[in-house]
C-alpha cells in the first residue's frame, strides 16, 4: 500500500528540509501558487472526499467553503494539535516524524481561505513536536515558503505556535479560540459558527494536524488517487490509527480507511497479548462506544463505524482482553470526563460526577437493580449539555448498556465484581 503520512520504517530523526524537498515536498504549494486559484484548490480538496481527522469527520473542503469570501477584516486558520483524547497519540507521532506535511498543508489551506495569520495550538508535553515545528517554520520562512509575498505570488502568511498549559476542553474548537485569545477556555455558543465569527470575531477555520497533513499529497496527486487509497469505495484516503491496550503491538500506523477491525487486530496490532482473548475495544478514542467480537468485520471508516453504533473519532483503538471489567473501564473513562469538565453547564458539571458515583457503587458491589435505568436515563440527560464533551463521555456508558448489560447485572446480583475477583 501507498503511505502519505508515515512510512513503515521510520528513522529516529525527523525528516529534514532537504529530504522533504527531495521527495517532492513543497511541489504542491509551488504548483498551487503558480497555476491554481484558491477556489480550484478548494475544489480538489472537496473532490478528494477528505474528512476531518480530529474526531468529527466533517468534510474538509466543505468546511472551508462555509467561510464567506467577501467579509472584510482579518480571518484566521487554526491547526488543532491539542490531542488530549485518551488513547490518541497520532498527531505526536506524525509531528515527531514529519512536521513538513503540516507546514505545507497549513500554507495551502491558508491560501484557499485567504488567511494571512494562522496558529498552531499545541498541547503542553509535546516538546519534541513543538521543537520540530519551530525549526520547520523558521526554515520554511528562510526558503521563502512563509512570510511576505510567498514565492512572488503576492500571498503572505505568518504562522504562530501557541503552547497550551494542559486542559482537554481546549481541543474543542470554540474553547480553543477562547484559549488562544487568552480567555478562560469555556466553549462558545454556536451559532455564530466559527466560519462566520470565530477568533477575535473574524471568520475562522479549525483543522486537525492529520487533516492538514494530507493536503499536499492530494494537490500533488489528485482527488481520484486519494479516494482510491481507501479499502472500500465509500471511503477516501488513509488514516492514522493508534493502538493501545492489551495488544502485542501498541503502535501508530497508517492504514487505508475501511480496513476492518479484525484485519487491524490480527495484522498491524499483532493480535492480543499471548494467551489472551479479545473482549472489547474502543474504536475511536475515549468518547466512542464499545465494539465487541461481533464487530470485527466492521470496516473502520466514518460511515460504517457510525452504522455499527459507534464513531471512528480519532482512530485511537484501545483493546481490552477477557480480564477487563467493562464497568471498571467505563468508570475510568467517565472519571476522566468528570475531571476535565470545564464546569460551564449543569448537565455536565453535576451529571458526570453523579454517573461516576453510580458506576463506582456498581463496581464495588453496592449497586441496585434500578441503577441500570438511572444510567440509561443519564445517557439521554447528558445530551442536553452546552458542548459535545458530556455526550462524548456518555458514549462508553451507552456501549456498556448495549453490549454488557449482563455484566452490570452480575455486579449487582453478586454484590462484587465478577471479572476481577
Amino acid at each position: 500500500m501507498e503511505r502519505i503520512l508515515l512510512p513503515e520504517i521510520r528513522p529516529a530523526a525527523p525528516v529534514s528540509f532537504a529530504d522533504y524537498c527531495a521527495a517532492e515536498g513543497f511541489a504542491a504549494l509551488k504548483r498551487a501558487l503558480r497555476e491554481l486559484s484558491p477556489l480550484e484548490v478548494q475544489q480538489i480538496v472537496i473532490d478528494s472526499g477528505l474528512r476531518g481527522r480530529g474526531g468529527a469527520g466533517f468534510p474538509t473542503g466543505k468546511k472551508w467553503s462555509f467561510v464567506p469570501r467577501d467579509l472584510p477584516g482579518p480571518r484566521y486558520l487554526i491547526c488543532n494539535s491539542d490531542e488530549m483524547e485518551p488513547g490518541t497519540y497520532k498527531d505526536r507521532v506524525l509531528l515527531e516524524h514529519n512536521p513538513w506535511l503540516l507546514v505545507e498543508g497549513l500554507i495551502l489551506a491558508a491560501y484557499v481561505l485567504s488567511v494571512n495569520h494562522a496558529f498552531i495550538f499545541i498541547r503542553r508535553g509535546y516538546e519534541t513536536p513543538a521543537e520540530n515545528l519551530r525549526r520547520a517554520l523558521a526554515e520554511a520562512e528562510r526558503a521563502g515558503f512563509l512570510g511576505e509575498n510567498i514565492l512572488g505570488s503576492g500571498f503572505s502568511l505568518k504562522i504562530d505556535l501557541h503552547v497550551s498549559a494542559g486542559r482537554y476542553i481546549c481541543g474543542e474548537e470554540t474553547a480553543l479560540m477562547n484559549a488562544l485569545e487568552g480567555k478562560r477556555a469555556n466553549p462558545r455558543s454556536k451559532p455564530p459558527f466559527p466560519a462566520i465569527k470565530g477568533l477575535w470575531g473574524g471568520p475562522t477555520v479549525v483543522n486537525n494536524v492529520e487533516t492538514l497533513s494530507n493536503i499536499p499529497a492530494i494537490i500533488r496527486k489528485g482527488p481520484e488517487w486519494f479516494r482510491g487509497l481507501a479499502a472500500i469505495p465509500e471511503a477516501a484516503g488513509n488514516k492514522l490509527f493508534c493502538f493501545s491496550g492489551q495488544v502485542r503491538k501498541r503502535i501508530c500506523v497508517e492504514l487505508p480507511l475501511g480496513t476492518t477491525l479484525g484485519e487491524m487486530l490480527e495484522g498491524p496490532a499483532g493480535g492480543m497479548e499471548p494467551g489472551r482473548t479479545f473482549k472489547a475495544c474502543i474504536p475511536g478514542g475515549a468518547s466512542t462506544s464499545f465494539f465487541t467480537p461481533r464487530h470485527l468485520s466492521v470496516p473502520m471508516e466514518f460511515d460504517s463505524v457510525a452504522k455499527a453504533g459507534s464513531r471512528l473519532g480519532t482512530g485511537a483503538v484501545i483493546f481490552f482482553d477477557e480480564r477487563t471489567c467493562m464497568v471498571a473501564a467505563t468508570l475510568n473513562l467517565v472519571s476522566f470526563y468528570a475531571r476535565e469538565s470545564c464546569g460551564w453547564c449543569t448537565p455536565c458539571r453535576e451529571g458526570l460526577p453523579f454517573v461516576r458515583e453510580v458506576l463506582t457503587r456498581i463496581e464495588q458491589g453496592r449497586g441496585e437493580p434500578e441503577d441500570i435505568e438511572i444510567l440509561r436515563e443519564h445517557v439521554k440527560f447528558l445530551s442536553f449539555s452546552f458542548c459535545p464533551l458530556a455526550p462524548g463521555a456518555m458514549g462508553p456508558v451507552d456501549g456498556l448498556l448495549r453490549h454488557f448489560e449482563e455484566e452490570i447485572r452480575e455486579h449487582i446480583v453478586k454484590r462484587r465484581c465478577p471479572v476481577r475477583n
Binding site: 490531542e83 488530549m84 508535553g125 480567555k183 493508534c242 493501545s244 491496550g245
Partner: protein, 164 residues
C-alpha cells in the same frame, strides 16, 4: 522577588502580541518557572504585565493543569491515569509512587522534592503506563523503573543544590 528584567522581558512579549491577553498563558508559565509555582506575588505581577485584574488572571490560572496555584515540590510528577495507561497498570504505578514518596495524590514529599499529581492522557498511550516529570515523558513504567527514575531525579536535585 520577581526581577524587573523578567517583568520587562514579558512586557515586551505582551506588546508583540495581537492583544495583551493573548500572551497570558506564556506570561503565567514564565513567572511560574521563575517562582516554582504561580505564587500570589506572581499573580499580581502577571496582572500588571498583562493589564488585567488579578481576578482575571486567577480565572485563567485555576483553569490549567500545568499552572500550579499552590506551592509544589522541586519536581512535579504527573502520572497519567487515563484509559490506555489504566489498561496496562497505572493504578499499581500510582500506588507505588504514593508509597515511595509517602504522599497522597496532590501532596508533596516531606523532603520537598516531589509533588505527585495524577493527570489526563499524556499522548503516550502506546507506551503506557506513562508519567511526566518537568518536560520529560517516561513510558513503559514498572516499579523498578520508577525507583530508578526517582533515584536519578534525587541525585540531579542534590547536585544542583550543592553547585548553587
Amino acid at each position: 522577588m520577581i526581577p524587573e528584567s523578567l517583568k520587562n522581558e514579558l512586557k515586551a512579549r505582551v506588546a508583540a502580541a495581537l492583544t495583551n491577553r493573548e500572551a497570558a498563558v506564556d506570561v503565567m508559565k514564565e513567572l511560574q518557572s521563575h517562582c516554582g509555582w504561580l505564587s500570589d506575588e506572581a499573580v499580581v505581577a502577571a496582572a500588571e504585565i498583562l493589564g488585567l485584574s488579578t481576578l482575571q488572571v486567577e480565572e485563567l490560572a485555576t483553569f490549567y493543569e500545568l499552572i500550579y496555584r499552590r506551592p509544589v515540590g522541586k519536581r512535579v510528577i504527573h502520572v497519567c491515569d487515563s484509559i490506555s495507561c489504566w489498561s496496562c497498570g497505572c493504578d499499581a504505578i500510582l500506588a507505588y509512587l504514593r508509597q515511595n514518596l509517602g504522599v497522597e495524590p496532590g501532596g508533596t514529599s516531606a523532603d520537598g522534592c516531589f509533588t505527585l499529581v495524577p493527570c489526563a492522557c499524556l499522548g503516550n498511550c502506546g507506551e503506557g503506563p506513562t508519567m511526566m516529570i518537568g518536560d520529560t515523558l517516561y513510558g513503559r513504567l514498572t516499579e523498578e523503573r520508577v525507583a530508578e527514575i526517582l533515584e536519578a531525579e534525587r541525585k540531579a536535585l542534590a547536585s544542583s543544590n550543592s553547585s548553587n
